[in-house]
């Protein structure tokens, strides 16, 4: 009963709301004007520390229909689709709260920017196909009058996934499903592989799958900035600050089977300003949790998971930061322009970077090797011991390579099933998730943003049915396991 009730609960509908104010992004240079006036006042009252015009433009508004926590690619995509799908221009006020506008630690800009359709779940294939279409037409979706077109730097290049004997049957099944969903993927035997890419050592490879279209990699920073630019022209508000607290009310309910339930509703979001003790409460109707690797913390702030274990109330959002390294190396004898993104059965992967025989790649650590996510320092020994041997085994030319640089970033890692969490929380009724994509969130973002916006505005998924990605699966123990994780 509870199950049914939770499944069917519709999200609050925001469509047809009253007119909000429409403020265009490129408003006149307010800061400049304020400081000019300040200077004038100071020249009239010399010596006075009196400051009559306290600049509050960095503060968020007092009220906003939707507050999006996290200005990474997922948060911005949700904002974009909310504005795009609103029934009337300016109907919804959207505020994006991002604590760091330099995005120094955000996964979006630290990712390797790949897009592929080779997943094990049909939903992920559909999301990726939708995103590919979005990226292809990015200058139509994100066109801003008077601004130059975006150059996404898309490299059309397939992913080449290699499977060992054990993995071959699964790979075949996956490819069949991917093709049914409309992805252009082909299977290759080791002989075909040897012929096409002579630089691969096919030892231990039983089967390979190779993407022919809509796969490759692009510049995540360009997508992020393109979204920001567009959002500003659509009247979305941005504010730099950290969400530290939610003020919510609760109501107690009982299910038909006598189970006690506490439904919560967030009324206010507290945004703490950078480098200060100030905070601003923002009244809101909907909160979107798009805080990436930190979305587990945001969920906790809203009271998700602080009930007794085994109950819905006690079910945490299983998303945590996991540190992943990316290394960039140079290898003059390495594979040429035709090199796809190669993913070895051992988990190691690499792709070409630019034209100068540079490559980027890495390997995910095992559960035991999982590094401390406290900082973003790079462990070069990990390359020496875990990544390089696997690479050199697969591509003998990589025996001689030179690591040029490296960086680390956080996966928004879903420990439950390595897959996204999309849609409302069953108990904190106005918190929506767009997180947990564990290493494929960038490419899914355009489609996931749309799905969340549909949920918020219409109360159900329309374009792509993402009900297997709802939060309630953690309570019911139904995994939407994604096997193809790099």
């Amino acid at each position: 009963m509870l199950r049914r009730a939770l499944r069917l609960r519709l999200g609050p509908c925001l469509s047809g709301r009253g007119l909000g104010t429409y403020r265009r992004g490129s408003t006149l240079d307010w800061d400049g004007k304020v400081s000019e006036i300040k200077k004038k006042i100071q020249s009239i009252f010399p010596g006075g520390a009196w400051n009559p015009l306290y600049d509050t433009s960095h503060l968020p508004p007092e009220r906003s229909d939707v507050v999006i926590v996290g200005g990474g690619v997922l948060g911005l995509s949700v904002a974009y689709w909310l504005k795009r799908l609103e029934k009337q221009q300016g109907a919804i006020r959207v505020l994006v709260v991002e604590r760091d506008h330099t995005y120094a630690r955000a996964s979006t800009v630290l990712s390797v920017g790949g897009i592929r359709q080779q997943f094990s779940l049909p939903q992920n294939v559909q999301l990726s196909l939708f995103s590919a279409e979005f990226l292809r037409n990015i200058n139509e979706y994100l066109a801003v009058v008077d601004d130059p077109p975006l150059d996404l730097q898309f490299n059309p290049s397939g992913y080449l996934l290699l499977a060992s004997e054990e993995g071959a049957a699964i790979m075949e099944r996956n490819v069949k499903m991917q093709r049914q969903e409309g992805a252009k993927v082909c299977l290759m035997s080791p002989e075909q592989l040897q012929k096409k890419f002579p630089w691969i050592n096919t030892e231990g490879v039983a089967l390979a799958s190779y993407g022919l279209e809509n796969e490759g990699w692009f510049d995540p920073w360009c997508l992020l900035q393109g979204l920001r630019r567009k959002l500003q022209s659509m009247g979305v508000l941005f504010c730099q600050g950290e969400v530290t607290r939610f003020i919510s009310s609760s109501s107690h309910m009982e299910t038909a089977s006598g189970e006690q339930l506490t439904l919560k509703r967030i009324h206010e979001v507290h945004v703490k300003m950078d480098h200060s003790q100030e905070f601003q409460p923002v009244e809101c109707a909907i909160v979107v949790n798009a805080a990436g690797a930190w979305s587990g913390q945001i969920a906790e702030l809203a009271g998700v998971g602080n009930g007794p274990p085994g109950t819905m109330q006690g079910t945490k959002l299983p998303v945590e930061p996991r540190k992943r390294y990316v290394y960039l190396w140079h290898c003059p004898q390495g594979p040429g322009l035709e090199a796809p993104l190669v993913a070895d059965p051992s988990g190691a992967y690499f792709r070409r970077e630019g034209l100068g025989n540079n490559y980027v790649g890495s390997c995910s650590p095992t559960e035991e090797e999982e590094p401390d996510p406290g900082n973003l320092e790079v462990d070069y020994d990990f390359f020496q011991e875990k990544v390089w041997p696997r690479l050199a085994q697969r591509v003998p030319a990589f025996e001689t390579l030179k690591v040029r640089s490296a960086w680390a970033g956080y996966y928004d890692y879903n420990t439950f099933d390595q897959n996204g969490v999309v849609g409302p929380h069953p108990l904190v009724v106005n918190m929506y998730f767009a997180t947990g994509f564990s290493g494929h969130g960038l490419q899914q973002a355009p489609a996931v943003g749309r799905a969340v916006a549909e949920m918020v505005l219409e109360g159900h998924f329309q374009t792509i049915n993402l009900s297997p990605f709802l939060f309630s699966r953690f309570y019911f123990g139904e995994k939407a396991q994604e096997h193809c994780i790099l």
Binding site: Y22, R23, R24, G25, S26, T27, L28, D29, W30, D31, Y54, D55, T56, S57, H58, L59, P60, P61, E62, H101, R136, E140, A143, V145, D146, D147, P148, P149, L150, D151, Q153, F154, N155, P156, S157, L212, E213, N214, G216, C222, Q225, G226, R228, R229, Q232, L237, F238, C239, S276, Q277, E278, F279, Q280, G336, L337, E338, R352, L355, G356
Partner: protein
């Protein structure tokens, strides 16, 4: 906490700061820095009146729609006459030229588009397409990808052909022998990389691609990637400026029309690259001259 909070309530009228910063960044994103320095009257109006902005947004969208409309497929023709005729019809409609097997080159304004003709050509494969300067895009490419016997394709100076389009040409890998992408403003080295699928390619023209950041190196890498293919690259375009006689030889030896007499750097500056080659080689030029000498003119030694 109370005091700052009280002052926080003095809400400033404008929240969105940093707009200029974003603008600056977006400029960095633009490959050619095409943003005009001087502010036009329209821009001024846009900044002050939302209505003007809405109108301009509408116009922007209309432009896009126009290209999309030009690239629709002709489902009716395809169902009735098959892929060859549908593909040919599409190309002719766009202002390009097609060559059916054992026939002369066909151009819309010369032959016209009679359904009688189409019925005759229903079963005849299209071997060569010259779509230079056409408004063909990703979507419109569908019509060409259905031509499974296509041996020669010219997409010279097509303003809407981009790297995503090149990612689809693998579908012609079995037949395609000649490909010209010269002068396409949106093709970069990233798209050229996926031509490795075209293992039957014998000639590839990648000269004068303004979006390729490193033409010399790119050409070498493309040659390595396609060892059986003759690649015309940057130095070929330079060779053009030297001898006008060489040009005419080029025109005679290839089913793909010659570069117009303007030097490449001039052609590049033309907005939209919409201008077309003045004369099309007459129907006598066929694919049989594949081994002709004109192509290798400026090849890397």
């Amino acid at each position: 906490m109370a005091a700052p909070r009280a002052s926080l309530r003095l809400v400033a009228p404008v929240w969105n700061r940093g707009t200029s910063g974003i603008r600056g960044l977006s400029k960095a994103v633009d490959p050619e820095g095409s943003q005009k320095k001087g502010r036009t009257l329209l821009q001024f109006l846009t900044d002050h009146f939302y209505d003007v902005e809405a109108v301009r947004e509408y116009l922007l969208r209309k432009q896009v729609l126009k290209v999309q409309k030009k690239n629709r497929s002709f489902t009716y023709i395809k169902e009735r006459y098959g892929p060859y005729v549908a593909g040919a019809y599409f190309v002719l409609k766009q202002g390009g030229a097609v060559k059916f097997r054992d026939r002369e080159w066909m151009r819309a304004n010369e032959q016209g588009l009679s359904s009688l003709e189409f019925r005759k050509l229903q079963e005849v494969p299209v071997e060569a397409v010259d779509a230079s300067g056409c408004a063909i895009n990703y979507q419109g490419l569908d019509n060409l990808l259905a031509l499974k016997e296509l041996q020669s394709l010219s997409l010279r100076r097509c303003p809407h052909v981009d790297d995503w389009c090149l990612g689809r040409l693998y579908q012609l890998a079995d037949s395609l022998q000649e490909l010209s992408l010269a002068g396409c403003p949106r093709i970069s080295e990233r798209g050229l990389a996926c031509l490795h699928h075209l293992q039957n390619l014998r000639r590839l023209d990648i000269s004068d691609l303004p979006a390729v950041s490193n033409p010399g190196l790119t050409q070498i890498l493309v040659e390595e990637m396609l060892p059986h293919c003759e690649v015309l690259g940057a130095d070929w375009a330079q060779g053009l400026k030297v001898g006008p006689e060489e040009q005419s030889r080029d025109a005679a030896s290839s089913p793909i029309p010659a570069w117009p007499s303007a030097p490449p750097h001039q052609a590049r500056s033309l907005p939209g690259c919409a201008e077309r080659p003045t004369a099309h080689p007459s129907g006598s030029v066929g694919l049989t001259q594949l081994g002709g000498s004109g192509w290798g003119e400026g090849r890397r030694a």
